[in-house]
Symmetry: C2
Subunit: 238 residues, 2 copies
């Protein structure tokens, strides 16, 4: 049996032992959804960094820069954190350096000790589940949350992943059980639940943000597995 | 509308602003259930403290001492943290000093800034809800959790409370919505869900612990409102 634990916010990541485990990091709105959508469309790699200054160093080296602070695009950056921006044809084959309020911090933390870091979003949740079944290793699902607080959409991702793994998995903490129950309670209407109840959805306003939200809330839109190799996230080839 | 937010673990309590708000602290297994059960049976007051040494100072002054470390009764203490111990006739009219791994720490933290601290358990959740409706003030529900992690039983208490308040309340964070969904998903079978899925339930073994668990999982067993007055928790009189 695969042992699964879920960390609902990076604030309590130190309570989780990541050594020897596969970490699956998610930030559904919108960092990891952007990464998955971009890589699936043709982006070559994404380097997650913590600080705006670090991203600007990569910009000097020719990288596309992407990301936000407090939900707003960083002025000097090429693009923000709408998945549609990351999918644009002009970035196919390009390398992106990205920094966001919650998501890239969670990835950087996970990298320090986990055996492997997988990038998950609702968009590729089925593919992540299939990969984890094959690996048959213990897993920690790390939800980026919102400024230290648990978030509904990331918890639903954890539940969607656990739902797909549950025949082969043992849930070792209450957070995993709660995430699964949350997903079951959504009863196939994950997008509606996120749109109606997630506080992050209320913070996103305007037509463009609404279409980002509908896009990011789709389960199994694509079947790629982004994995962290050294500094960069790339698609794992079979 | 009453604004409600939920803190799923004291580790992130600093992200919540308690000033001017009513804090409802819960530790269903078993600190606040013991307090509620004891006070309802006839205990005069309960003083929550952080350290075993502090409790032993109260013991010298004639207090009954109660509590655990890692789920085990502290050797020098009069009683542990089974609600049945707290309900014994010999403690009616007596003052108890209590320290536990998670619950008393959460109460002590809440006391620092909240306008008022209420002690909640499934046992008295309906009475807590009625009181909060009358007060019509903003609320933070603080779940004691288990060693820094969210716990299912405390989250279910939060959901049970929010469920009773929802017509008059606005949920201001995702944790509150998730707690409510968790309670709804339990579909009237809160005790079964705790017994079958809470990791804390798995840690409790033996017949005595099982009866503690069934007892603590009861909603609306009694109708008292324990409130923190200075150092001591007592029943609030109408």
């Amino acid at each position: 049996m695969i042992k699964i634990e879920t960390c609902l916010t990076p604030e309590i990541l130190s309570l989780h032992q990541l050594e020897g485990k596969i970490a699956v990091v998610t930030d559904v709105l919108r960092a990891t959804s952007c990464m998955v959508a971009g890589l699936n469309a043709g982006v070559n790699s994404v380097i997650p960094v913590i600080k705006v200054e670090e991203a600007l160093e990569y910009q000097k080296k020719g990288f596309i820069t992407a990301g936000e602070r407090g939900g707003v695009k960083v002025e000097e950056f090429t693009i923000g954190n709408s998945p549609f921006e990351h999918m644009q044809e002009e970035y196919h084959g390009k390398d992106i350096c990205m920094t966001t309020t919650n998501g890239t911090v969670a990835i950087t933390e996970a990298k320090k000790t986990a055996k492997e870091v997988i990038i998950g979003a609702l968009l590729n949740v089925g593919t992540v589940a299939e990969y984890l079944k094959e690996q048959n290793q213990d897993i920690v699902i790390i939800c980026a949350g919102w400024k230290g607080n648990p978030s509904l959409e990331d918890t639903l991702f954890a539940g969607a992943l656990i739902h797909r793994l549950q025949d082969q998995a043992e849930l070792t903490d209450d957070a995993s059980f709660m995430a699964l129950a949350q997903y079951q309670q959504a009863n196939g209407k994950v997008a509606d639940v996120i749109q109606n109840y997630a506080s992050h959805a209320k913070r996103l306003s305007g037509l463009k943000a609404k279409s980002d939200l509908s896009f990011c809330a789709q389960e199994d839109y694509c079947s790629i597995l982004p994995i962290l190799n050294g500094e960069a996230i790339t698609i794992k080839k079979n």
